[in-house]
C-alpha cells in the first residue's frame, strides 16, 4: 500500500505498516512482531468485578509476567493493550474513548467479561451494550467473571495474532478490531491446560 512512496517515507508515515513487504524487510517485521507480542503492556482499565480477576491474573498464582505483561501502565501513552475489565456505564463511555485515543499505535483491545463484550446480564438504560460500540475490539473473553485461565487464553490468542502479523495488517485496512471470540475455560480444581493462540 505504500509502494509508491519509497521505503523511508513509507516508514515515516505509517511505521511498520509502511514497509514495502519484500524478502528483505520480512525478517525485520518478524522481529518487531515477535518482540511486540512478548512485551505488550496493558493499560489498567479495571472497572468492576472483572478487575479482581485481572489483578488475580497479574498476581503470583497465575502470573502474566511470564508473558511479559505484569507491568500495568497507568498512563495510556505507555500502554499497548487495553483490557476493558468490567461493565461500561453511559457516564464512563466518553472516558473509555478518551483513554483509547491517547494510546499510541499499535494498540489492541481485549474485552474481558460478558459485560464488556455485550452488556452481559445488564440489558438496561445504564450500561453500554458492548464496548465494541465505543472502541474496536480484538479479542472477546467470555465469563462472568472470566477465570484467569480464560483471560490468559485470550491474551495469548492476541499475542499469537500479533506475532504472525495478522492483526496490524487487518487493522490498517478496515479500522475495525479482529473480533476473535475465545471459549471460556471453566474454573477447575487442578491445573488447567491453556491453549496458547496460534503458537
Amino acid at each position: 500500500m505504500s509502494s509508491d512512496k519509497g521505503l523511508v517515507q513509507g516508514i515515516v508515515d505509517d511505521g511498520l505498516g509502511g514497509i514495502q513487504h519484500n524478502a528483505i524487510t520480512a525478517k525485520i517485521e518478524d522481529l518487531v512482531n515477535w518482540s511486540r507480542s512478548r512485551s505488550s503492556w496493558p493499560a489498567s482499565f479495571g472497572l468492576a468485578c472483572c478487575a479482581m480477576e485481572m489483578m488475580a491474573t497479574g498476581a503470583a498464582h497465575y502470573d502474566i509476567s511470564r508473558f511479559g505483561m505484569e507491568v500495568f501502565r497507568a498512563s495510556p501513552r505507555q500502554a499497548d493493550i487495553m483490557i476493558v475489565a468490567g461493565r461500561v456505564s453511559q457516564k464512563m463511555a466518553p472516558v473509555l474513548r478518551q483513554v483509547y485515543d491517547q494510546m499510541m499505535e499499535p494498540k489492541w483491545v481485549i474485552s474481558m467479561g460478558v459485560c464488556a463484550s455485550s452488556g452481559g446480564m445488564f440489558n438496561n438504560y445504564a450500561i453500554v451494550q458492548g464496548v465494541d460500540q465505543v472502541v474496536p475490539v480484538d479479542v472477546y473473553a467470555p465469563g462472568c467473571p472470566p477465570t484467569p485461565e480464560t483471560l490468559i487464553h485470550a491474551i495469548e490468542t492476541l499475542h499469537g495474532l500479533i506475532e504472525n502479523g495478522q492483526l496490524l495488517k487487518r487493522r490498517t485496512e478496515s479500522g475495525a478490531g479482529a473480533n476473535v471470540h475465545v471459549t471460556e475455560i471453566p474454573a477447575g480444581a487442578g491445573p488447567v491446560q491453556v491453549l496458547l493462540g496460534s503458537r
Binding site: N123, Y125, D132
Partner: protein, 181 residues
C-alpha cells in the same frame, strides 16, 4: 367475676391504647417499627428522635407507588405516588425505626435532613436523581449517578428499563455476541 355475663366482661375490659411515638401511631411491619409522619411533621419528628438517641440515619430512599395506589396504609394517611423511606438507628438502645413519608406527584418536594444528619447528602442526591423528588434547602442537589445532562428519572415506574433486543449472530463474523434472555 366468674358469674358476670360475657357482655359485661367485654365492657369492663379496657381497650389497649395504641402505642404512639411523639404523637404518631407506631405500626409494625414484620416485627419492625414504622412511623408514618406527614411532610409537615417530618423534620420536627426526626429532630425529636435525634434527641431520643436515634443518632444515625442509616438509609434514605424512596419508592414509586404508581402501580400500587391501593396499598395498605394506616388509617388517616393519604396515599400519594412517592414515599420517602428513612431508616434510623439508635446505637445506645440498639433499636431501629423506619419512617415512611408520603410525597405527592404534583408537588414532589420534601425538606432535607442534611442539617440534622449530614450523611443524607449523598442519599438525597440519589433519590433526586432516580425519582425526581426535590429536597428543599439541600446544599448541592445535582445528579449523582447519572450524567448531569441525563433526561428523566430512571427508577420511576413509568421509565422504561431500556432493554435492547438481543441480536443473535447468524454467521461467525458478526461483532456482537448473542446472549440468552
Amino acid at each position: 367475676m366468674s358469674d358476670s355475663t360475657p357482655t359485661e366482661q367485654e365492657q369492663t375490659a379496657p381497650t389497649p391504647e395504641p402505642v404512639t411515638v411523639h404523637g404518631l401511631p407506631l405500626t409494625d411491619s414484620r416485627g419492625q417499627a414504622v412511623l408514618h409522619p406527614s411532610r409537615e411533621q417530618y423534620i420536627a419528628l426526626v429532630k425529636k428522635l435525634l434527641d431520643d438517641g436515634y443518632a444515625m440515619c442509616v438509609d434514605l430512599t424512596a419508592v414509586d407507588y404508581l402501580l400500587r395506589p391501593g396499598r395498605p396504609l394506616p388509617d388517616g394517611i393519604v396515599h400519594e405516588r412517592f414515599e420517602v423511606v428513612v431508616n434510623l438507628l439508635s446505637l445506645r438502645d440498639r433499636t431501629r425505626l423506619r419512617l415512611r413519608v408520603q410525597v405527592p406527584e404534583s408537588d414532589p418536594t420534601i425538606a432535607t435532613l442534611f442539617d440534622l444528619h449530614p450523611g443524607t447528602e449523598a442519599m438525597e442526591r440519589e433519590v433526586y436523581d432516580m425519582f425526581g423528588i426535590v429536597f428543599t434547602d439541600h446544599p448541592d442537589l445535582t445528579r449523582i449517578l447519572m450524567p448531569e445532562d441525563w433526561d428523566g428519572h430512571p427508577l420511576r415506574k413509568d421509565y422504561d428499563q431500556g432493554r435492547i433486543p438481543v441480536q443473535f449472530s447468524a454467521d461467525s463474523s458478526a461483532t456482537a455476541v448473542g446472549g440468552a434472555r
